[in-house]
């Protein structure tokens, strides 16, 4: 890579990193304040009873030096139990992200190419219907209709079909019913129409070149700007899906924390999710700046 480019990317990355660190600190500070205000003796012992800022600083340093977030109501350490279950939620969100993007790409492609059909218009209504079904209801119905409750993945006599159902069904429900499919397909369809009416596409058509390659590159660049917000919403959806489908991820632990008023566990949940979102944002930022050229970045940011 060229030297100037490398230096530029490093500077921008450090700026973005410091910004996201500031966000992280304010979020944890707000959570810290809110937990301090609620009356709970155990939490006061854990968080301190003096001046807020010094308590906060000491708590943050303790967390990041010794990875000690406290103990749950049942006595287990928070950090260890969350770390075990974090991988499952990540897997859920990332796979459903990929699947939802691909579904909306395909649907948007067909919608822009064959948009004048009556079938396509009804299809758009169907997508509207799907997006208005709440996620918990769809998951609830799917759990009823599919043999999900009967599957026990830890037993010895589990077949591959059961394993597939156990992993694929929640992922597909999350990718389809999280409520943003209409928005994404609309967006992709509009972008398809806009790009295919550009002059370089007509010039390519006259020459006889490969149009799809050019359109796809433009659309993927546009989708990379949406990925961040979609990831955040998918984590929120993953929490509901874990509760209904019985996966032992961060969502279920957070729900139990709220139900039994387990403040330290919930604090750990907050920290884990913010760190995950932060890391994801930074990676997409790096990927954007590496792949895209200056024209695109200047025109979109």
């Amino acid at each position: 890579m060229k030297k100037v480019l490398r230096k530029n990317i490093l500077m921008k990355f450090t700026w973005k990193l410091s910004y996201s660190l500031m966000l992280f600190i304010t979020i944890t500070f707000l959570a810290f304040i809110s937990f301090r205000l609620s009356v709970n003796n155990k939490m006061i012992i854990h968080l301190g009873n003096g001046f807020i800022f010094s308590d906060f600083l000491s708590w943050i340093i303790k967390v990041f030096s010794s990875m000690d977030l406290g103990t749950t109501l049942s006595g287990k350490p928070v950090f260890g139990s969350l770390l075990k279950s974090f991988g499952k939620t990540l897997m859920l969100t990332v796979s459903s992200l990929i699947i939802s993007f691909s579904i909306s790409l395909i649907l948007g492609w067909y919608w822009s190419n064959y948009g004048k059909n009556f079938a396509v218009q009804t299809f758009s209504r169907i997508i509207n219907l799907i997006s208005s079904i709440p996620l918990f209801l769809a998951a609830f119905i799917i759990v009823l209709l599919s043999p999900y409750m009967v599957i026990d993945i830890t037993s010895d006599t589990v077949s591959t079909v059961d394993i597939l159902i156990y992993y694929l069904v929640p992922i597909f429900t999350l990718s389809i019913f999280d409520g943003f499919i209409t928005e994404m397909t609309n967006f992709i369809k509009i972008r398809f129409d806009e790009i295919s009416s550009e002059q370089f596409i007509t010039a390519l058509e006259i020459r006889g070149g490969n149009i799809k390659k050019h359109i796809m590159k433009h659309i993927i660049y546009d989708l990379l700007t949406i990925v961040n917000s979609k990831f955040v919403t998918l984590i929120g959806g993953a929490i509901i899906i874990e509760i209904i489908f019985g996966w032992k991820g961060i969502g279920l632990q957070g729900y139990n924390a709220v139900y039994y008023r387990d403040y330290s566990l919930f604090m750990g949940v907050i920290i884990f999710t913010t760190i995950a979102i932060m890391i994801f944002n930074l990676t997409t930022y790096i990927v954007n700046h590496l792949i895209k050229n200056k024209y695109f970045i200047d025109n979109t940011n």
Binding site: E205, H214, Y295
Partner: protein, 246 residues
């Protein structure tokens, strides 16, 4: 019809656009022929339908936004063959009965356009819009090269050969630093350079007709001079006919 020695014959071409007040005839029964190794220039005011005619010849314009009727023969093949039935014009009161094309006709258009593949090249008015901003110049020239040579393999030797041809063409259009320029994106070059690059890309295909739609209106006098010299040189060195619009 007599197609001897003629590459392109246009017969009674009409291009119409729909408006709330009826159909506007941008092109009203135009016919001409273009023979091999000739230059044709179309002169007219702005808004007189020149671009519409050229786009119709390249078979881009049917359906939306414009509707085409007439006959366009490229080496005795009718490009508007399947579209004759769509447009019926009665001349009593100037009324037109037109059935709009839907997406099914785009498939027939593709078949017709396949006749023209790599035989016509078009250079548009605004060079910044006619190159993809996300691909480098090298990649876009390589695309044109792959069209010309369908037996292109992704081996190191053939990539090297293709890149050499691109650099050769960049030298041909008198660009100073071809190696650096070929790795740049279109937004980093000036308008005159981009227009010359467009001409180079269209010449890599080795077309039999080069159509240029107002290539120099967006540029100043000096660059127009260089571009016209280039076009003259290309015309003399290769066997092609040029349709020029201004």
């Amino acid at each position: 019809m007599n197609f001897s020695n003629s590459i392109l014959t246009v017969n009674d071409l009409m291009v119409m656009f729909e408006s709330p007040n009826g159909f506007i005839r941008a092109v009203d029964k135009v016919s001409f022929t273009v023979k091999a190794k000739t230059r044709l220039s179309i002169i007219g005011e702005s808004g007189s339908g020149k671009t519409a005619m050229l786009l119709a010849i390249c078979n881009i314009l049917n359906g939306e936004p414009g509707i085409v009727s007439g006959q366009i023969y490229y080496e005795s093949k009718n490009l508007l063959e399947n579209l004759k039935k769509d447009v019926i014009i009665s001349q009593n009161n100037g009324k037109t009965i037109i059935r709009k094309n839907d997406y099914r006709y785009s498939k027939m258009l593709k078949k017709n356009r396949a006749i023209l593949k790599s035989k016509i090249a078009m250079v548009f008015q605004d060079p910044r819009k006619s190159l993809d901003p996300l691909f480098t110049i090298e990649e876009q020239m390589l695309e044109a090269y792959k069209l010309k040579n369908p037996n292109y393999e992704n081996s190191r030797k053939s990539i090297y050969e293709a890149k050499q041809i691109c650099i050769e063409w960049l030298n041909n259009i008198r660009i100073d630093n071809p190696k650096k320029v070929s790795t740049q994106y279109p937004n980093e070059l000036s308008g005159g350079m981009l227009q010359r690059v467009m001409i180079a890309i269209s010449m890599i295909i080795e077309p039999s007709i080069l159509i240029s739609d107002e290539p120099t209106t967006a540029l100043d006098i000096k660059t127009t001079n260089t571009i016209m010299e280039l076009v003259q040189r290309i015309y003399e060195e290769n066997n092609l006919s040029i349709i020029f619009n201004s």
